[in-house]
Amino acid sequence: MDPVIDHTLRLGLRLLFAAALVHKLRDLGAFRRTLDAYRLVPAALVPVALTLVVALEAAVQVLLGGREPNPAGLVVAGSMLLLYAGAIAVNLGRGRDRIDCGCVGAAGRDGLSWWLVGRNVVLAAAAFADLAPVAARELTAVDRLTVAAATCALAGLYVAADGLVANASAYRRLREAV
């Protein structure tokens, strides 16, 4: 794999996890209630799970921050994304789709949906794909531009896709009403 793709994926994942971490740290109480509502860990272990999730999200920042590709960081990031997808899928299976998603962005504000599961699986696939061996090549100025611009474009498209998922329920309500 070309180093440009590796750098773009890692920068994108770091951006995503940074947004998720800030979202959680800004209102730890809300995140705690979200964890409670997911009903996946016993109530007594919720503080432990909370600490673990925050610590792992912070670890992704450190592990993926280096100049060289880091398989451990990618595995942690990919596994976390799959874990979230699984947590949402389990609650959808239980019919508890009206709970707060706890997701960063607008998509989860009306509750859970299979879109959120799909999105996390795609993101996890991107993280695991980056485990492929990276070709040795010096990055030039044009490469740096490609990495920076591609990351910005991916972030914009992510926000757009997130918005579309968030709008989906309002769109459905509108169609049903007319």
Partner: protein, 206 residues
């Protein structure tokens, strides 16, 4: 040649990033449109006591343990807005500021009562976190069954004489306000309002 390609590459990236930003902004604007355009009045569900009928008297347990009567004729003739919510419902949480300002504006004639069900331990942290101490908060499964509340957030407006004046699923601030509007105009629902408007137009033409 290389310079030309680099320049074209730079320009293309700038355009791609700008386009991604514009798409994201457009999606956001469409979202706002959906919220504004979506059902203009609280969606009436043909279940439970009808508008115009007497609200059954239900004694519900408040979160502090005191019993509270909902429905029936009130000595002080004040109206009651019964707002059904749950700590795990995100839309309910979004509506709390609107509910708070409505309670403030209409305080001359209206009491807001929050209603939910389930164990008290699930609700106390929610009340503290959202600062809902100012509202009476009742926990009663029979109350939800009486009004046949199937989806949240749901609101029922009961006047001082114990008559249901408006009710429905409330998803936005506009839905909530439409309940007060319905009472002021003496209309049961948005359907009544549309029918009334059509008759007036017909009359004007004749």
């Amino acid at each position: 040649m290389t310079t030309a390609l680099v320049v074209s590459n730079v320009i293309l990236w700038v355009l791609v990033v700008a386009l991604a930003g514009i798409v994201a902004a457009l999606v956001r604007q469409i979202g706002v449109l959906y919220e504004r355009v979506a059902p203009a009045g609280a969606l009436m569900v043909a279940r439970g006591p009808r508008v115009g009928e007497a609200a059954p008297l239900v004694t519900a347990q408040a979160i502090d343990g005191a019993p509270r009567e909902i429905g029936g004729v009130r000595a002080d003739a004040r109206s009651t807005l019964l707002f059904f919510l749950s700590p795990t419902c995100p839309v309910c949480k979004q509506l709390l500021p609107a509910l708070r300002s409505a309670a403030q504006h209409e305080r001359a004639w209206l009491d807001v009562v929050l209603a939910s069900d389930g164990p008290r331990a699930e609700h106390e942290p929610f009340v503290r976190a959202e600062r809902l101490e100012e509202f009476p908060y009742v926990l009663s499964a029979p109350l939800g069954i009486t009004y046949e509340v199937a989806k949240l957030p749901y609101a029922v407006l009961i006047d001082g004489a114990g008559i249901v004046r408006a009710k429905g699923l409330v998803n936005t601030r506009e839905h909530l306000e439409s309940l007060f509007e319905a009472q002021e105009r003496g209309l049961a629902s948005i359907q009544d309002f549309v029918r009334g408007g059509a008759e007036m137009t017909e009359g004007g033409r004749a």
